[in-house]
Chain length 293, copies 2
């Protein structure tokens, strides 16, 4: 798992570094990620890690360039990890036919359908392999302080990885936030297509493991720290791909109040990076509350 540094750009007194390595979780394919290290980390301090999961069609670059996260993270002294959204170059038949399935659309799960199971394991890649790689490379990261956020498919990823880690008693992440997440994927076309393809158990398997609205119902009194923003002019929201109301209702039914699970409807905002950049600083500061506590 030796890391190759592909590039490094100074930004907000820190460095955004792009790395490549051979990913065991992704079946031996080359995987890339970006890591933003703030100035205090470059000076040797171990800093908290905020993982950002991107949406459909994105790579590790889009949000690093357009999310408006790096300035706020520099101020807070927090590192941000930007993984890719799927394996690249697996060569599986049909993997590049759709923009919402296969390449660029890994859905942050571990595939159980044998056709995809060797390579499409973004869950293990994000939660276990990347932290291991970071640790093995002695990067200045304190892995006992992690949080996670994401957009759209990556909002789904952030919520499900966070809730699963709370449910499993692992508590890998201290807090979770999402922009326009696919919040109830077993009830929307994007999720149904992905789960039917990647999972041998299809939708039923996904209800157990990969649906934020289902997962939060299984929680009892475990404290959670979740912030969700979505825009009312988001066409994917209007077309029923996101369903944040379902997630909100499940959270309230489970007994979580608006301090523990805050879901904000943002008037007039759409699904784009313009929406995200507007609330990017807000989300970074939300996580800083827990990462620096």
């Amino acid at each position: 798992m030796s890391l190759e540094q592909l590039s490094s750009n100074k930004v907000f007194d820190g460095q955004l570094i792009k790395y490549k390595f051979k990913s065991a979780a992704l079946g031996g394919l080359d995987a890339q990620f970006n890591l933003f290290l703030p100035a205090n980390a470059l000076a040797g301090t171990k800093v908290p890690l905020l993982t950002y999961l991107s949406g459909l069609t994105c790579t590790e670059d889009n949000a690093a360039q357009k999310g408006n996260f790096l300035g706020p993270a520099a101020k807070e002294g927090i590192a941000i990890l930007f993984p890719d959204t799927s394996p690249r170059g697996a060569g599986i038949e049909g993997e590049t036919d759709s923009w919402d399935f296969g390449v660029g659309a890994g859905f942050y799960l571990n595939a159980t359908n044998p056709k995809w199971a060797k390579h499409y394991n973004m869950l293990t890649h994000v939660t276990l392999e990347l932290p291991q790689v970071i640790e093995a490379a002695s990067l200045p990261i304190d892995l006992t302080r992690q949080s996670i956020f994401g957009h759209s498919m990556g909002g789904h990823g952030a919520l499900t990885l966070y809730l699963s880690s709370v449910l499993g008693g692992v508590k890998q992440y201290r807090s979770c936030s999402a922009f326009a997440p696919i919040a109830n994927p077993t009830n929307c076309p994007w999720g149904q297509k992905a789960f039917s393809g990647y999972l041998q158990g299809g939708i039923e398997e996904a209800k157990e493991k990969y649906d934020a609205t289902e997962l939060i119902k299984k929680l009892g009194k475990e404290p959670v720290h979740i912030l969700v923003d979505y825009g009312t002019a988001d066409n994917f929201y209007k077309n029923g791909q996101l369903l944040p109301e379902n997630f909100l209702k499940a959270a309230r039914d489970t007994g979580y109040d608006e301090v523990q699970v805050r879901v904000r409807s943002q008037d007039g905002y759409d699904h784009s990076y313009y929406f995200m950049s507007t609330f990017g600083a807000d989300h970074v500061h939300f996580h800083a509350n827990f990462l620096k506590a």
Copy 2:
């Protein structure tokens, strides 16, 4: 010159609107631009206009997405105009052969070589046509309060358009700033290639009209307000494409002090949007001092 609205995205409580129109200055071709209107403009207040000129290969989109200007402009209540970097679709032989000449590389001049003169008139497009179009459409902009900035080729554009307007006594712009500008283009390969192609009078014509280092020497005691940032890890700087020291020396020789012409060397930064996003807020606030005076 009727404006067609192609899209609108809410961002930082304002709107980023993309327009298209038939451009007389560009020989009747369709031209596009983005305009960021802050919330106070949407509510009916006429706001100042800051024009941003992009660098080689860019369109009207890149800096709107990656420059980190919109949040600061929203705070200041300033509109930002993002023009394109050249005509599109002129169909002139050879215009798409290079990334640093022709399409995406208009250099903010009016071509005098007959081959290019019908279409390649970004100077008139930016300084006269776009303000006319904005006024004709009754957009909430106060054109008596304008400033200009840009990056690389666009930094060259910002400096030359600003200095020319001061020299001509027009004073269209109250202040000027630039990131990594091509500051002495008659002495660098990019400028020499562009001027030899676009201008019948070649480099000599460019020295008269389109070289910031030459233009500032012609000024006497006219007050100017100029801020320039460049990075020491910028490969184009290291390869002699930018030459900010030449501009700085000409400014000092002319008698301008560091309040009127401030040129900052930023340690370790490169030519990318990561550099620009770091100092984007700084530049917007610099212009706000004059636009809101």
